[in-house]
Amino acid sequence: MPMAAEDIIRLIKEGIPGAEVEIEDLAGDGDHYAATVISTAFAGKSKIQQHQMVYGALGGRMGGVLHALKLTTMAQRP
């Protein structure tokens, strides 16, 4: 079952307060997204930890209802 982009953004922002989230529906099918998450909470953390924080915010949906989310994380805008 696909997931709406707004729901993904809301969950990430709830899990990582203050995060900026940009999302793109890659295939237009509500099932393949690319997300960029920018948050100072990522500072000093490894890429794996950063992605785990986002997956944590999505609360187990990643790999389940949310099939494909290409993730880019950064502590600040380049």
Binding site: K47, I48, H51, Q52, Y55, G60, M62, G63, G64, A68, K70, L71, T72
Partner: protein, 113 residues
């Protein structure tokens, strides 16, 4: 709570193979675009790796997600360390970090053709 039995098998595989990819399908015939992308990156780098097809093993498929605390496949391990999934591997390849990591860990890279 005791940990799943499959964790022992996972540790064993990780110890046996310097570069290990848990993937959907096989290196010759990947069955998911994300797994295929990582196979391509490793081939490009000239890294010898062992692929484990989690599609044929439901215990392993669930177990590796819990073991790594990572919800998706593929997952790459280098010398016992979880390096990441598809997005991280691709990003590290593009920045040159992945090749660097392989060298630091003492993994042999084939000379670029």
């Amino acid at each position: 709570m005791s940990e799943p039995q499959v964790f022992d098998r996972i540790r064993d595989e990780i110890a046996k193979h310097d570069v290990l990819l848990f993937m959907k399908g096989t290196p010759v015939f990947p069955q998911c675009g994300f797994s295929a992308a990582v196979v391509e990156v490793l081939s490009e780098l000239g890294v010898k790796f062992h692929g484990i097809n989690i599609l044929t093993d439901p215990d392993l498929r669930q177990g590796i997600k819990e073991f790594s605390q990572w919800p998706t496949i593929p997952q790459l391990y280098v010398k016992g360390e979880f390096v990441g999934g598809c997005d991280i591997i691709r990003e590290m390849f593009e920045t040159g970090e992945l090749g660097q990591l392989m060298k630091e860990k003492g993994v042999t890279l084939a000379a670029a053709a």
